[in-house]
């Protein structure tokens, strides 16, 4: 907390709920329509979730 709940539109068309990670969790850093890329993060042995980070982030 805080964390960013966001809907991400994929290049293929579908939209999905996710979190924006890899950047400051502030309204200033979390701009609508910014380019993102997926970052899969392992949660446990069975579950891996697709998060997204700004393309600028390393």
């Amino acid at each position: 907390v805080p964390y960013a709940v966001a809907v991400v539109e994929l290049e293929e068309g579908p939209r999905m709920m996710s979190n924006i990670v890899g950047c400051s969790q502030t309204p200033q850093a979390l701009q609508l329509d910014m380019p993102l890329r997926v970052r899969f993060e392992v949660q446990d042995e069975r579950i891996t979730l697709p998060f997204f980070e700004p393309v600028e982030a390393a």
């Binding site: 709940v5 939209r15 999905m16 709920m17 996710s18 609508l32």
Partner: protein, 382 residues
């Protein structure tokens, strides 16, 4: 206007509202039901249809001593009570029953028990699989997604959004039963505790105790009761998606548009006929969507419409005149309170009475833009 479909001949809220720490949920239903029956001058044995959301329908009928031959337990969120009214009108017209009681009661503040909420989402549900894993839980969080898109698309500032609770508080200040009555400035809204950006606490409804009940019967019988009849002349209902991430367009609710259009066409009215409007407002953005999707404002123009005081006391389209969910009461499913205020305005008995109300529209939302229902009430027999 077209022919009246049915009449509301009894209407009341719970005797007390806001904080009622000594009544359970079913007691709140019963208190409101007894008040509505007293209002209409009838007893439980006169009722042959019953509808509710949030309480066990069978337990409620038994508790009240009602033997139903028609029941409706539709529960699709806070607008369920508008739908109950719509369904009751149809059932009465079909001859399935003659006298319907619709009740609501929730212990949102005292939590005896806590109101039913659709979260945490069951793991196998759509939201449980595809939204909840990202911490997208609960109304304040889920509603941020469409609101931020709306604000960006139309270039509406958060300060403009903050006008919604500010102006509704002006109505609440005229209402001794409102939970929050102190004047509220835009600066105070903006500097209130951050809940989920862009919502501060003052853009979110309080959690309160209370409920309400309605008694509905055929138009022809409306004169048999001691109350000024309120005719139901139009109704609508619709749904869109159970996951807010899959709304077709974040700046407009399809369910709002379809429900509103049905109700207006059903009633045979246009916007100029509407003297008073209730738009379910659990959060500050909902009146914006309601004004636009019901067709009172063009897309993106509702915030200016509100800022220009058209919905405020003395304005040309009084909206949420009880103070709304943001100031009056919000136990969990607010729809019944919007209906009660529409009935009071049409009867001429509201705390902040608008002069000469002939037609009132009450519009409800269910869950997060998942569903909607709209009713049109009048005191003029068409």
């Amino acid at each position: 206007m077209k022919k009246a479909k049915a009449a509301i001949v009894g209407a009341s809220e719970t005797t007390r509202i806001g904080s009622v720490p000594d009544m359970s949920q079913i007691q709140l239903h019963a208190d409101a039901a007894l008040n509505a029956m007293a209002d209409a001058g009838i007893r439980a044995r006169d009722i042959d249809g019953i509808a509710t959301a949030g309480e066990d329908l069978v337990a409620l009928a038994d508790y009240l001593g009602i033997t139903p031959k028609w029941m409706d337990g539709t529960i699709v969120g806070g607008c369920s009570f508008m739908m109950h009214l719509r369904h009751a009108v149809a059932a009465i017209a079909a001859g399935q029953c003659t006298t319907v009681l619709i009740t609501h009661g929730e212990s949102g503040k005292s939590r005896l028990p806590a109101p039913y909420m659709p979260w945490p989402s069951p793991p196998m549900s759509y939201p449980g699989q595809f939204e909840a894993p990202f911490g997208a839980l609960g109304a304040p969080t889920l509603f941020t997604v469409p609101v931020l898109r709306y604000l960006k698309t139309f270039g509406v500032s958060i300060e403009k959004l903050a006008m919604v609770p500010t102006i509704q508080r002006e109505w609440a200040a005229l209402n001794p039963r409102a939970f929050l009555q102190q004047p509220l400035t835009v600066d105070e809204v903006m500097s209130a505790k951050m809940i989920a950006y862009p919502f501060t606490l003052a853009m979110c409804c309080p959690q309160t105790d209370g409920g309400g009940a309605l008694i509905v019967t055929a138009t022809e019988r409306a004169g048999e009761f001691g109350t000024p009849p309120v005719f139901v002349i139009g109704t609508g209902e619709s749904a869109e998606v159970s996951m807010i991430s899959q709304m077709a367009d974040f700046t407009t609710s399809r369910a709002f548009r379809l429900s509103g259009r049905q109700a207006f066409e059903d009633a045979g009215i246009d916007h100029g006929d509407v003297d008073h409007l209730m738009i379910y407002d659990a959060f500050a953005h909902l009146p914006l969507y309601g004004l636009e999707d019901l067709g009172f404002c063009r897309p993106g123009e509702a915030a200016d419409f509100i800022s220009q005081r058209h919905t405020a006391p003395g304005g040309k389209l009084p909206v949420n005149t009880n103070g709304g969910g943001l100031s009056y009461a919000h136990p969990g499913m607010y729809g019944m309170f919007a209906l009660q205020e529409s009935v009071r305005q049409v009867r001429g008995t509201a705390a902040a009475q608008v002069p000469d109300v002939k037609v009132s529209v009450a519009h409800g939302v269910g869950s997060m833009f998942a569903s909607a229902s709209t009713v049109v009430l009048t005191n003029v027999l068409p």
